[in-house]
Amino acid sequence: MASARSWQAEQRRSFLLGLVPALAVLTLVTIGPVLYLTISSLTPLNPTVPGSGWDFSAPWRNYATALGEERFLLSLWVQVKLSAVTVVGQIAIGLGLALLLDTNSRFMEAIRTGFLLPMVLPPIVVAVVWKIIFTPDISPMHRLLEWAGMPIHSLLSNGDTALWAVVVADTWEWFPFTMLMMLAALQMVPKEPLEAAAIDGANRRQTFWYVRLPYIQQTLAVTALFRLIDSIKAFPLIYVLTDGGPGRATEVTNYYAFVQTFNFSYWGYGSAVATLLIAGVLLLSWIILRFGGRGMAGADHA
């Protein structure tokens, strides 16, 4: 009995030895910075103003400024539009493709790898690809439309269309993720109910609606939440395609924080906006983990 206890104690010590270094480094590179970020969000930190990082005289000023700032509120609205449309688009395309590719032939396996590409490409390459498509001089799209007698102006330099151009590029970049998730979910649907539905004479649409969908709806929800969170981080596309413009038409909140911090040197204010973003993301992550209790849980992509 005593030896069993000492073996357990030793096991415990051994295991912790493997865990502690990683958690220490993870603390240093994640919790440390986030704490600092939260603290600096309470100051008017500006690298060009000495001592501004320790000025706590008006701790809530940055947050009050943000909530009263039209440009910040506009960035939230742009974010909502971008997120909503891209997530719905990706779910629709991803689900459609998954239903089409949900067979285990060798050919389809190869095709699936092809569909995967946009998501693993370096985001900067995705941005270059779409910059080319949206630049009239060299764009095959503009050339085709001109040839068909419907020439259009650059979508990116028009405030009404720029965001939708970004939406198209973002949807293209991330539909493979929803497709993968939907494929995984579809392949976990048990065979018996599908066979039963076939015997009962259900057509494809009925089978999808009444048999497959109930099995995959939870994955569907978690996938949508994942994409929603990631859409908050959209950066390279906006940086390369529009730089937040024209005007403020494509300036999402993440981009707004970037501009305030690194272009205008409002580090304290930028920190406050970034802190608000983290709060939003934490809330959404928590929702995912709540969902995750039953069957599907959340964490990673590329």
Binding site: F15, L19, V29, F107, V120, Y239, L277
Partner: protein
């Protein structure tokens, strides 16, 4: 018979859709082989040339490519060394608060990069790590370490315990067993996780854009510089883009099945 025809139609539909969806990418590819004076020409056919690629060798691009290889490679190795034992512990050992660790790791993966960039920028300035490869390697740990812990934990959870218990009874310590029994069983998972880490660091644009200037510049940033400082050299931009995506595409084709698991890691409970 009917079933067969149905398969054929969906195969053809899938192939056509693939071609359609990848056409923007293919367009960039052909642009990279076009002669410089032919980029905005009207005709579709052209005499392919490598001049855009050779032009890349004369500038800063080769150095940035090497920088990308070093930062991604070193960060991957470090994350595996630190993260794999931690993942094993989390898979095999129950302790109070392991659910909080899970939330922490998930949140790290979710947090917008700007939240890390602001503090790191100031800290790097203070510590003399701005524009260094070491600095980039360090910041890549923020996402790589979390990824390794998360994916390998679910991988280890799927490795049967009985073998390890047998080794323990034979007097092999926990980490001895880990090295001799668990690691050899886990090479596919380790390889996939390593490749995924490499791709994530390789693909990074935001951190490199802000935390480097010239010395430690990585190739994604170098491509953007072609757009800003040297006029619009589309052929060169397309060639640079093609080179940067090449390693990623090769890795994807090589280890598709395992990569898919890693890409969805955690999103689907195993």
């Amino acid at each position: 018979m009917r079933r067969k025809r149905h398969t054929w139609t969906s195969n053809i539909v899938a192939a056509v859709l693939l071609l359609l969806l990848l056409s923007p990418l293919l367009w960039m590819l052909q642009l990279s082989f076009r002669p410089a004076d032919d980029v905005i020409a009207e005709q579709l056919l052209f005499r392919p040339t490598l001049e855009n690629y050779t032009a890349l060798w004369t500038g800063t691009f080769p150095q940035s490519f090497i920088n990308s290889v070093i930062t991604s490679g070193v960060s991957t190795v470090l994350s595996l060394l630190l993260g794999v034992p931690a993942a094993y512990t989390l898979a095999r050992f129950r302790f109070r608060g392991d659910r909080h660790v899970a939330l922490w790791i998930l949140a790290t993966r979710m947090a917008p990069p700007i939240a890390f960039t602001i503090p790191f920028f100031l800290a790097f300035k203070f510590a003399g790590l701005s524009d260094t490869l070491t600095g980039l390697i360090l910041i890549y740990l923020t996402f790589n370490l979390a990824l390794v812990i998360w994916t390998m934990r679910s991988f280890f959870a799927g490795v049967p315990r009985s073998l390890e218990e047998a080794a323990w009874i034979d007097g092999c310590g926990i980490w001895g067993t880990f090295l001799r029994v668990v690691i050899p069983l886990s090479t596919p998972g380790l390889a996939a996780t390593g490749i995924l880490c490499f791709i994530l660091s390789w693909n990074d644009f935001f951190f490199a854009l802000i935390l480097t200037r010239t010395k430690a510049m990585t190739s994604p940033v170098a491509i953007v510089n072609f757009m800003q400082y040297e006029g619009w050299e589309w052929g060169k931009i397309a060639a640079g883009g093609t080179l940067v995506m090449l390693p990623v595409v090769i890795f994807t084709l090589l280890v598709r099945t395992w990569l898919v698991r890693g890409l969805m890691a955690g999103a689907v409970k195993e």
